[in-house]
């Protein structure tokens, strides 16, 4: 086991975990990072800095609902004849840590249960005849690789800290990691360091309720959340707690600028939905020159620490000139250092070539949500034991009497017949994922986007029963882009389509690759049926390499065709269905779209001025 203090690099992630150790009401820490960065090693080492005896439960990705929520302990129940309840993983993490590696791969029903438990602090067990409340107040620590997909926003909303994503590329740091793994560090040093760190955290915990924060500082954080377009009001509290925890960790009783900046970095910026705009003040508008105040910025920090306590009372005069400026300065600082990697290029990670399946791609048929049981044969599925017992129970007396009458001696406590057997029926996850790939290049792009938008919306609105999902990929310029990861939300799909830029080259190969990766990710989450709906004239003119290498802009026609053909064949071989919808006017078409359909093993539809319904019809036919 590598100790917390031995881990090199990832300072921000370490700081985040320390804040959580100081104030568990921050809810948790999520660490996105690339493979091999040591993120899971760090997360597991988190236990080192927590008080002794704090539960640390690692959640396996393939956890069943029973294990997660809890239920009847069958063995103990059978042995004792009284119903014995088994607590689930969520409840086992009570007052401790629930750790999930590869958080973004966790299946959606498990995510829902975790969200539910986090919002209540308890698990409501209403299953298989049980009705119980189990305490489940835990910190969630999650790590994931963004190229596996993103974590559901609803879950992130309940987790206080999101460490900004930074790929580890520092070779020196890596070398040191290797050294630690090889055991080159002195064990005693490690123990001393750990002791010191734990002492520090203990002291900070004591200090926590003594830390004060001014109204202006609170307002500053809230203002930042608003300018970054952070959704919801819950984050305000998290940001305040993070700032206070950081002050406590530095043994201060007042929150200072550094604390605020860290809170912005770890709590607010990773949830930004837009770049903050510097709102020009009236003077700026008039003079077009920044006010001279900016020069004084370095001094201001010192001034502010000594800020008179009467600031707390000055709630009324909101427009205090210096403070908002300073807050804005802080915010821009936090944003500029962290935003570009994290928010604006969030889909960049998914554009990287997908790693070939280190994680099981095979779908486990025994997973999913157990809904009810039905009579069946043992071999035809997973036996639902409790219902089986229930149906056998009333007949025990008569069956035993029957056997006694026949002279059969039995020591079995229960006699279960074939007719008693119930098998579990799992939720049907057989919905289809429709991946719309919309050609946003060239002059007809607007038209295509409108059609796609209509088709996506009407598909979603008509397909609830099938639990279908859609994903949306647009391609133009140098590469394709996932606008909407697989989702059932009409609102989101519409919003994404509303702000789409158009024009430029046609990176068709990149679109196919991106679509294929999206499909692969979806498969790891249990979606088996996938269909590509490509709305394009099929004329690709940008090679795959353009997405990675800015100097590549074109390639010979044969090379382009080869790329597309290779991808198309692989996609076909992967069992993905496709249709190609060509909406180009006939006289402009040179037959590329039908060719593309053929390579994909899909169907071709020529629908000039297609209505949304027609596209949907084609996709469903």
């Amino acid at each position: 086991m590598i100790a917390f203090t031995d881990i090199v690099g990832m300072d921000l992630a370490k700081q985040a975990l320390m804040l959580l150790a100081v104030d568990p009401s921050l809810g948790g820490v999520v660490i996105p990072s690339t493979v091999g960065s040591g993120k899971s090693t760090l997360a597991r080492a988190f236990a080192d800095i927590l008080p002794d005896g704090t539960p640390f439960v690692e959640l396996p990705l393939n956890v069943t609902e029973d294990r997660l929520i809890g239920g009847v302990d069958l063995e103990a129940t059978l042995a004792s004849g009284v119903r014995v309840v088994q607590h689930g993983v969520l409840s086992k993490a009570h007052k401790g840590v629930l750790y999930v590696d590869s958080l973004s791969l966790l299946d959606s029903s498990a995510v829902s249960h975790i969200m539910d438990a986090m919002s209540r602090g308890v698990v409501l067990v209403e299953r298989e005849g049980l009705s119980e409340v189990h305490p489940a107040d835990f910190m969630l620590v999650g790590t994931y690789d963004p190229s596996d997909g993103e974590v559901r926003m609803g879950l992130l909303d309940r987790i206080g800290i999101i460490v900004p994503f930074t790929p580890v590329n520092d070779y020196r740091a890596r070398k040191q990691i290797v050294n630690i793994v090889m055991g080159k560090r002195d064990e005693e040093d490690t123990q001393d360091e750990l002791r010191m760190l734990r002492g520090l955290i203990d002291a900070a915990r004591e200090q926590l309720h003594k830390v004060s924060m001014t109204n202006e500082q609170i307002k500053g954080l809230i203002q930042t959340a608003i300018s970054l377009g952070v959704e919801g009001n819950r984050v305000d509290i998290f940001a305040i707690r993070a700032a206070i925890a950081n002050a406590a960790l530095s043994q201060r009783t007042e929150v200072d600028d550094e604390d605020l900046k860290l809170a912005m970095k770890l709590v607010l910026v990773p949830r930004a939905t837009r770049m903050p705009e510097r709102e020009p003040s009236p003077e700026e508008m008039a003079q077009e020159e920044p006010p001279p105040q900016e020069e004084e910025q370095p001094e201001q920090e010192g001034e502010d620490e000594n800020a008179p306590p009467d600031e707390t009372d000055s709630e009324a005069d909101e427009e205090q000139k210096d403070t908002p400026d300073m807050i804005e300065e802080l915010m821009m600082d936090a944003v500029e250092t962290e935003l570009p990697d994290n928010i604006l290029n969030i889909s960049l990670a998914s554009k990287k070539k997908a790693k070939s399946g280190s994680r099981g791609e095979a779908l486990n048929n025994k997973r999913g949500r157990f809904v009810r049981s039905q009579p069946g044969e043992i071999k035809s599925g997973k036996v639902a034991l409790i219902p089986t017992l229930i149906s056998a129970a009333p007949w025990q007396a008569s069956r035993k009497a029957e056997q006694a009458r026949k002279g059969i001696k039995t020591t079995a406590a229960l006699i279960i017949g074939k007719e008693d057997v119930k098998i579990k029926r799992f939720r049907d996850k057989s919905g289809t994922l429709f991946i719309f790939m919309v050609d946003a290049s060239g002059s007809m792009a607007l038209n295509r986007m409108r059609q796609a938008k209509g088709a996506v919306s009407s598909l979603l609105q008509n397909a609830y029963v099938h639990r279908d999902q859609v994903s949306l990929i647009s391609f133009r310029g140098k590469h394709a882009q996932v606008l909407l990861p697989p989702s059932q939300s009409v609102d989101r799909a519409k919003r994404e389509l509303d702000v789409l830029p158009t024009g430029g080259g046609t990176p068709l190969a990149s679109a196919l690759l991106t679509g294929w990766e999206t499909a692969k990710q979806a498969r790891t989450k249990g979606i088996t049926q996938i269909m590509f709906v490509m709305i394009t004239d099929g004329r690709g003119n940008i090679p795959l390499g353009a997405a990675y290498d800015p100097t590549v802009t074109k390639a010979p026609k044969e090379d382009l065709e080869k790329e597309i053909e290779a991808l198309a064949l692989s996609i076909q071989a992967d069992g993905i269905a496709s249709i190609v919808v060509d909406t180009q006017m006939n006289y402009l078409s040179r037959g590329e779209a039908p060719k593309l359909a053929q390579k994909l093993g899909g169907r071709y539809f020529y629908l000039p001025n297609a209505k949304a319904e027609q596209i949907v019809e084609a996709a469903l036919s």
């Binding site: 305000d236 938008k453 996506v456 639990r467």
Partner: protein, 392 residues
């Protein structure tokens, strides 16, 4: 929780046996039931952030209150941004709900009339007299339906412990039984399993829960106000379920700095010392509860002119709303709203305030529509009102 359930089981199994025995046993059991109920209720009050301290989100708060005043409105769906206090508000509701009388210890929360009707019918012989039935006052129940619930716990099923130990088939009531005459709350309702949605649709339509499984056959009243909340970005709601909700409240992130500061302050104060905080707001909470009760009492006296009804019908027609549920909901909600405002007559002023809540989710969805549903309703409302004025 378990104890409540166990106590409930006792009651049910007793029912299955002879009437006399049930009656003889009853006092002891009832005591057990009440004893369990009380601490449970107290525990809840210590846990929920108070309703009156929730800042903003007036649309949601009003929808919930109107549903308390008249449960026939048909519940409310609260959809909107994450972290905006949806579930906090619904869970806070329990504290301001008025009391209702029920048959003492009855797990189905039945009224004396319902009790007599069901139980006499089942036993055939001796009719139960109203004076023999003891009653008690309980707060309107609020039942939380977690996403992970299985069908057997929602509908009720055979009591497995009893079945295993004594071979008796006793019915163990589920969440639907507990929510009779109360509220049934589903957080993340758009993620609810299809099978459970089917069950809910069935029961909500009939007001009865019919259980035919594992060799038992039971039917009991299950009339509840369905409250659902969720974030539309996590997934859409099935249209049939959407249609079931009387009202649709929207909730968005508050972007007013002063309000947000207030939210944060209240929340921190509450987290610091929940009990002291609750004490501080007791008066306000009681005031709200009284106002709700007053509105409930006023409701039967509220009247509506036919002209208003005509305008409502015209509004629904102009908006192209299918069926009559739109009109019906507006009418009921407007009555409740008038009562809440202390008015005895429904006017178009009341209708205007609640029309958006009633109709937002009933408009036909056009994928390419960019106009907000609320605006559209407002616009049509303006037209109808203009016409009405022109006619007058």
């Amino acid at each position: 929780m378990t104890q409540t359930a166990k106590a409930a089981k006792k009651t049910t199994s007793a029912k299955a046996s002879a009437t006399k025995e049930a009656k003889a046993k009853a006092p002891a059991e009832e005591k057990a039931v009440t004893e369990v109920k009380k601490p449970a209720a107290k525990k809840k009050s210590a846990l929920a952030f108070p309703f009156t301290s929730i800042v903003g989100q007036e649309e949601m708060k009003l929808s919930l209150i109107l549903n308390i005043i008249d449960p026939r409105i048909g519940g409310v769906l609260v959809m909107g941004h994450r972290g905006t206090g949806k579930s906090t508000t619904v869970r806070a509701l329990a504290e301001v709900l008025p009391f209702i009388p029920r048959v003492k210890g009855d797990i189905y929360n039945r009224t004396v009339e319902q009790y007599i009707e069901m139980e006499s019918g089942a036993k055939g012989a001796s009719a139960i007299k109203p004076e023999d039935v003891k009653t008690e006052l309980i707060p309107v129940p609020v039942v939380d339906l977690p996403l992970g619930a299985t069908e057997d716990r929602v509908c009720g099923t055979i009591d497995i412990e009893k079945a295993l130990t004594s071979g008796v088939k006793a019915f163990e009531p589920g969440l639907l039984a507990q929510s009779n005459r109360g509220f049934l709350y589903i957080d993340e309702v758009n993620l609810l399993d299809d099978h459970l949605v089917d069950v809910l649709l069935d029961v909500a339509a009939s007001g009865k829960n019919v259980v035919e499984r594992e060799g038992i056959s039971i039917r009991h009243p299950a009339r509840f106000v369905l409250v659902g909340s969720g974030n539309p970005e996590e997934g859409e709601l099935r249209p049939q379920l959407l249609d079931r909700f009387g009202l649709h409240a929207r909730i968005i992130t508050i972007n007013d700095v002063a309000k947000r500061v207030q939210i944060v302050k209240l929340r921190r104060e509450y987290d610091e010392d929940p009990e002291a905080f609750m004490k501080k707001v007791t008066k306000e909470q009681q005031k709200l509860q009284k106002k709700i009760v007053a509105a409930q009492q006023l409701l039967p006296q509220v009247t509506m002119d036919d002209a208003v009804l005509t305008d409502i019908a015209r509004l629904c027609m102009n908006l192209g709303i299918d069926g009559h549920r739109g009109e019906l909901t507006i009418t009921r909600t407007a009555h409740a709203f008038a009562a809440w405002e202390g008015d005895k007559e429904v006017t178009m002023k009341h209708v205007r305030e609640i029309a958006g809540l009633c109709l937002r989710h009933r408009l036909r969805k056009d994928p390419l529509e960019t106009v907000d549903a609320g605006e559209k309703i407002d616009r049509e409302l303006g037209k109808v009102l203009g016409e009405a004025e022109a006619a007058a």
